[in-house]
């Protein structure tokens, strides 16, 4: 049960809210309070477009607890249009193969459950082939 932890990340999970550095305009996701580009403090919120492309991907066959029912599933590094990279599952793939460079967009999906019927179901961002 990790309710507070997932609750406080809801802006990131549901809307890809990161930050933009007020000093150097660097776009930051996931949010962190020190700009990784210039080292100054960065706390200005910035909502990402959710568009990007696949930098790399893998199909996971041996799933950790909480993800068993989804396996096999595909996890990718997504290079967002605004610059940063995020780790996210690819979804709605159908029969077409995934390729590096494939354009994708963010959608909201069920991510995991706590493994028992009283546990938390976590929702958040995944990415699908851009439509």
């Amino acid at each position: 049960m990790e309710i507070p932890r997932h609750w406080r990340l809801k802006k990131q999970r549901y809307a890809l809210v990161g930050e933009v550095c007020p000093h150097c305009d660097y776009k930051i996701f996931p949010p962190r309070d020190v700009c990784p580009n210039c080292g100054d403090e960065a706390k200005t919120l910035y909502t990402f477009s959710g568009r990007g492309e696949v930098f790399s991907y893998t199909t996971i066959y041996e799933a950790p607890t909480g993800f068993d029912s989804m396996a096999p599933y595909t996890v990718a590094l997504i290079k967002l249009e605004e610059g940063p990279m995020v780790t996210a599952q690819l979804t709605d793939l159908g029969d077409q193969p995934v390729e590096i460079g494939m354009p994708v967009e963010m959608v909201t999906r069920k991510m995991r459950n706590d493994g028992d019927e009283r546990g938390v179901i976590v929702y958040g961002y995944k990415f699908r082939r851009r439509v």
Binding site: S56, T59, E62, A63, V75, P84, M85, T87, M111
Partner: protein
């Protein structure tokens, strides 16, 4: 400055020790290391462990092991840096003795994977990545390696069996190591047919999680007992670097920056060139990590680390022998004990006690312990005096 000597070494068999718990596993290695040192009495204990709080519901290993090993009362703490915990603990022991504040330090790495099975182990391993932004997506340790391997193969045009040489070399070397988990050579056909763990990482690209404990006793040369029987092995340099925790936060994920930086610092501190290094115990938790580590250390240009394996340069007798006693792939990956296994194996090589695995005239060994995809990199240079 004072030389820090690896005076005693001990290690258990690596494997599935269903009948032996965490504390008894650690004691077996500790007992052997102290006996091997000629009976030195430690004043401080540093424990390298990655997952005992998750897998065995046991934290606070410092006092547990000091008490259990008959050293009640001494300074004792756990050092944790994921897969680099063993290397990080070794560094703490080194710093303690090097500083002169501790005369004899005991460092033990111990991991007990088989207290759990299945998805629980993968979930525990995933806690060493960015829990909020990587593990929550179902990304596993193998998955991180796979993301790097896929990108590497894409950028550098590596064929499907391009990484086979790492597993083949490791298994060939493991045959001669009586402590290794796997002591059977494999053929390239077996690699090509292996099932996927996390595509493109297959079963032979991934080191097996295993139970094990390894220990070293560190001291200064003037404190060695009379009649000390072994060739002297000193820690010539010790260095740690960190990168971002999450892969997605790196501008250059294939650069293995921390691995590069820690090797450069260690070489600089010891005044050693790459050519002088006789063997390299890299952290081949995954074959892609072996390739990237070879490049980061400077043994191969970017994109060409895999060729060293394909061409036999990492074999015993090759240009830079690696995984000389099986590496993580064949000796096994006992989590936070791994860095201590590397130290014990390197000491055996430098003493000339490596048996069938012996690298001839080994004088200088490089060992590197990685946490995650080189999120933490701990590098030591060991030298025969």
């Amino acid at each position: 400055m004072t030389d820090v000597i690896i005076a005693g070494i001990g290690q258990t068999d690596v494997g599935e020790h269903w009948g032996i718990g965490l504390r008894d596993l650690a004691y077996a290695a500790v007992k052997d290391a102290i006996a091997d040192s000629g009976g030195l009495q430690p004043q401080a204990l540093f424990v390298g462990n990655m997952l005992a709080p998750n897998l065995s519901n046991q934290a606070h290993l410092g006092v547990l092991l000091a008490d259990h090993c008959g050293m009640r009362g001494i300074e004792a703490v756990t050092v944790e840096a994921a897969g680099a915990s063993g290397g990080a603990a070794l560094r703490q022991g080194y710093l303690a003795v090097k500083s002169g504040l501790v005369d004899v330090a005991l460092v033990v790495g111990v991991e007990k994977f088989t207290d759990q099975v299945g998805g629980g182990v993968d979930a525990a391993m995933a806690t060493t990545s960015d829990s909020d932004f990587e593990a929550v997506q179902g990304l596993t340790a193998s998955g991180q390696a796979a993301l790097l391997m896929r990108r590497y193969m894409h950028e550098y045009g590596v064929p499907a069996d391009g990484f086979a040489g790492f597993a083949l070399t490791a298994h060939a070397n493991g045959v001669g190591n009586p402590k290794a988990m796997f002591r059977k050579a494999i053929r390239v056909e077996a690699y090509a047919q292996a099932e996927m763990v996390s595509a493109p990482v297959n079963l032979f690209d991934a080191a097996p999680n295993a139970d094990g404990a390894a220990a070293v006793v560190l001291t200064r040369s003037d404190l060695l007992p009379n009649g000390y029987p072994h060739a002297l092995v000193k820690i010539a340099a010790s260095a740690v670097s960190t990168d971002t925790l999450a892969l997605h936060d790196r501008h250059d994920p294939l650069g293995f920056w921390a691995a590069r930086e820690s090797v450069e610092m260690a070489r600089h501190r010891a005044g050693v060139t790459l050519d002088e290094i006789d063997f390299f115990e890299y952290h081949d938790a995954y074959s892609i990590y072996a390739a990237l580590s070879l490049e980061a250390a400077g043994f191969a240009p970017r994109g060409e680390g895999w060729k060293l394996a394909a061409q036999g340069a990492i074999a015993r007798g090759g240009r830079i022998p690696c995984a000389t006693m099986g590496g993580l792939k064949a000796r096994g990956f006992p989590g936070g004990a791994t860095g201590l296994y590397q130290a014990v194996e390197a000491a055996l090589q430098l003493r000339g006690q490596a048996g069938a695995c012996q690298v001839s005239e080994a004088r200088l060994g490089l060992i590197q312990s990685l946490g995650g995809p080189a999120s933490t990199a701990v590098t030591h240079l060991l030298e025969k005096l």
